[in-house]
Amino acid sequence: MQGPTIVDSVLAHPEMAREPLDFWSMLFVFVLATFIGLGVIRRVSRLLYTPLMSLTNAISAIAVVGSIIVTGADYPPVIRLLGAIALFASMTNIVSGFLITDRMLKMFKTEDKPREGGPA
C-alpha cells in the first residue's frame, strides 16, 4: 500500500472540518448499536429464526423515514418520484414483515394449549 489510503484522504479533506462532530457521533451510534444487536440476537430462540428474519426485515424498513422526507419535501418531481418508489418498497416490507411475523409466531404452541379446528 503506497500513499494515503482512501480513509486518510477522506479524513484529511478540508471539508471534514465542517462535520466532524456528527461523523464521529454517527460512527459511535453505529458501532454501539451493532454491539447491542449482537448481544440481543445471540439470545434469540433458535426455534424463531425464520420469524426473527422477517421481523428484522420489517425493522430495517425504517428506511421509510428517509423515503418520506425525500417524497414529501419541496424537491424536483423526479427526485420525489424516486422517493415515492422507495417509500412504496419500504412500506411493503413493513406491512408484510410485521404481519407474517405475527402470523408465524401465533403458530408456536406448547402441548397444553388446545388445538384449533381441523380433523386430527
Partner: protein
C-alpha cells in the same frame, strides 16, 4: 419540533431493541412484534409531521400501494416464506439504493456543498450495497420460487470469481473517484455506471449458488439490507436509521455465521465456492443396493418403538407433508410413543424453516429439538424417520474428505436402532453424492412422495379404516 422528533426516534430505537429482545422465547415473541409496530408507527408519524414535508399526496399513495402489495405478501403459504423473505430483502435494498440516488442528484443540482467526502462515501456505499442486494435477492427469490428462466443448479464458468471481484473493484474505484470529485463534469455520468455495476454484481453473485446454500445466502443478504439502511442513515444524518439498520445487519451477520458453522464452511467458500462443481468426483463407484420396506412393515416397527425421532428436510416442505407428519405424530403419541423432531440448523431453505412448518402443523414447539441436543439421545432412539432430508444425515460427512459435505455436523440418524428414509426417487441429493446412510444395514427405504407415504403410514396405524 426538533426535540419532539428526536425524542420519538429515541423511543422508537428503544422499542426496536425490546422487540428483538422479546424474540428470545416463543412466549414473549408476539409482544416483540407489537413493540416493533409501535416503534415503526411512532417513527413514521414523527417524520411525517416535520415542517419540511409539505407534499402529502404521493406519500399517501405510496403507503397505500405498500399496503396493497404487503398484505397479500404476508399471506403466502409458509413453504414460500424463504422466497418472500428474499423478496423483502430486495425491496429493502431497492429503497436504500433509490434514496441514495435521489439524494445525490438532489444535492448535485441544488447544494453541491452538501456532497462532502464523508457523505459521498456513505452514498457510494449505500448505492452499491442497496442495488447489489436488490438484484441478488431477486435472483435468490427467483431460484427459491423456481422461476423458469433462472437456473436452479449452480451456474459456473471460467474466471467466475476473478470476474466478479474485478467488477466490484471497478465499482469501488469509480466510487472513490466520485468521493474525491463529486461535482466533476463526468460525475453525473459515472454515478449510473456504478449503479449498473452493482446491479450486475448482485446477479452474478447469486448465479453460482445452489439451493442448499440458500440459508446462508439469505442471511448474508439480510445483513447487507441492514447495512444499506445504516449507510442511508449516514447520508441523511439520521441516527434512528443507523440503529435500526445496525440491528438488522447484526442479526443477518449472526445468522450467517451460525449457518456457515452448521455446514462447516466459510463465508468466502459459500459465496465463491460453487458447491455444485465437486459432484462429479464420486460418480462411478460400485452400484449399491437400497433395501425397500413396505408401508405395513414400517408401521409395525413404528408401533413397537418407544422413541421415534423424525428428521425433516427440505423434501418435507416440497411435498407439503408437514400436516401428514403431524397426524403420524398424533397416532404414535396415542400409543404412548415419544416422538421428537430433530432440527438441523440448515434443514430447509432458510434459518428456522422447519420449525415454522412444523409449528404451522400444530406440532408443539417443545417437541422440536436442536441437533446438538438430540444427538446424545440418538442411540436410545428406536426409529429415526428421515423425511426429505439427505445431506444433514449423511455419515460420510464425518470422515470422507472427498465429499463436499466433509466436516459438516450431522444428525446422528445412523445411531438409531432402525432408520426409515422416505425418498422420492433413487437420485442422489443436492450435493450429488450417495448417502451411505441409505445403504446401511439398519436402514429401510420408503420410496415415494413424502406426503403420500406418511399418509399411508397414518392410515395403516389408524387401522386402515380410512378415517380421513
Amino acid at each position: 419540533m426538533r426535540a419532539v422528533v428526536q425524542l420519538s426516534y429515541l423511543l422508537a430505537t428503544s422499542l426496536f431493541v425490546f422487540a428483538l429482545y422479546w424474540m428470545n422465547a416463543p412466549k414473549t415473541a408476539r409482544r416483540g412484534v407489537f413493540a416493533g409496530i409501535a416503534a415503526m408507527g411512532i417513527a413514521v408519524v414523527a417524520t411525517w409531521i416535520q415542517p419540511e414535508v409539505i407534499h402529502h399526496g404521493w406519500i399517501v399513495l405510496a403507503i397505500f400501494a405498500g399496503f396493497l402489495v404487503g398484505v397479500p405478501l404476508s399471506r403466502v403459504p409458509l413453504t414460500a416464506v424463504p422466497q418472500r423473505t428474499a423478496l423483502s430483502h430486495a425491496f429493502g435494498g431497492l429503497a436504500a439504493g433509490l434514496v441514495g440516488t435521489a439524494k445525490y442528484y438532489l444535492w448535485l443540482g441544488e447544494g453541491p456543498e452538501n456532497l462532502t467526502p464523508f457523505r459521498m462515501t456513505a452514498i457510494v456505499v449505500e448505492i452499491i450495497l442497496g442495488y447489489l442486494t436488490f438484484t441478488g435477492s431477486l435472483m435468490a427469490a427467483g431460484k427459491l420460487q423456481e422461476v423458469r428462466w433462472i437456473p436452479q443448479r449452480p451456474v459456473t464458468y471460467r474466471f467466475q470469481n476473478v470476474g466478479n471481484i474485478g467488477l466490484l473493484v471497478v465499482a469501488a474505484v469509480l466510487g472513490v473517484a466520485l468521493v474525491l470529485q463529486p461535482t466533476a463534469a463526468w460525475a453525473p455520468a459515472v454515478f449510473p455506471v456504478i449503479i449498473g455495476l452493482a446491479l450486475l454484481f448482485g446477479v452474478l453473485l447469486i448465479i453460482p449458488i445452489g439451493g442448499a446454500d440458500m440459508p446462508t445466502v439469505i442471511s448474508i443478504l439480510n445483513s447487507y439490507a441492514g447495512l444499506a439502511a445504516v449507510a442511508m442513515g449516514f447520508v441523511l444524518d439520521n441516527k434512528l436509521l443507523i440503529t435500526a439498520g445496525a440491528l438488522d445487519g447484526s442479526s443477518g451477520f449472526i445468522l450467517s455465521i451460525i449457518m456457515c458453522r452448521a455446514m462447516n464452511r466459510s463465508f468466502t467458500n459459500v459465496l465463491f465456492g460453487a458447491f455444485g462443481q465437486v459432484q462429479q468426483l464420486k460418480a462411478g463407484g460400485e452400484q449399491k443396493e437400497y433395501k425397500a420396506e413396505s408401508i405395513e412393515g414400517a408401521a409395525q416397527v413404528l408401533e413397537q418403538a418407544n422413541l421415534v425421532v423424525v428428521i425433516p428436510g427440505y423434501g418435507m416442505a416440497v411435498a407439503q407433508a408437514q400436516h401428514k407428519v403431524r397426524e403420524l405424530h398424533d397416532q404414535l403419541k396415542k400409543r404412548g410413543i415419544t416422538v421428537k423432531f430433530a432440527i438441523h440448523p440448515v434443514a430447509g431453505r432458510m434459518p428456522g424453516h422447519m420449525n415454522v412448518l412444523l409449528a404451522e402443523a400444530d406440532i408443539p414447539y417443545t417437541d422440536l429439538v436442536e441437533m446438538d441436543e438430540i444427538n446424545p439421545e440418538m442411540p436410545q432412539c428406536d426409529v429415526a424417520l428421515v423425511v426429505g432430508a439427505n445431506d444433514v444425515v449423511n455419515p460420510a460427512a464425518r470422515y470422507d474428505k472427498s465429499t463436499p459435505i466433509y466436516g459438516m455436523p450431522i444428525i446422528d440418524a445412523d445411531k438409531a436402532r432402525t432408520v426409515f428414509a422416505i425418498k422420492r426417487s433413487k437420485n442422489p441429493g443436492f450435493a450429488g453424492i450417495d448417502n451411505e446412510l441409505y445403504f446401511a444395514e439398519k436402514t429401510w427405504m420408503l420410496f415415494g412422495d413424502a406426503k403420500h407415504v406418511i399418509g399411508e403410514l397414518v392410515k395403516q396405524l389408524s387401522g386402515g379404516a380410512g378415517m380421513h
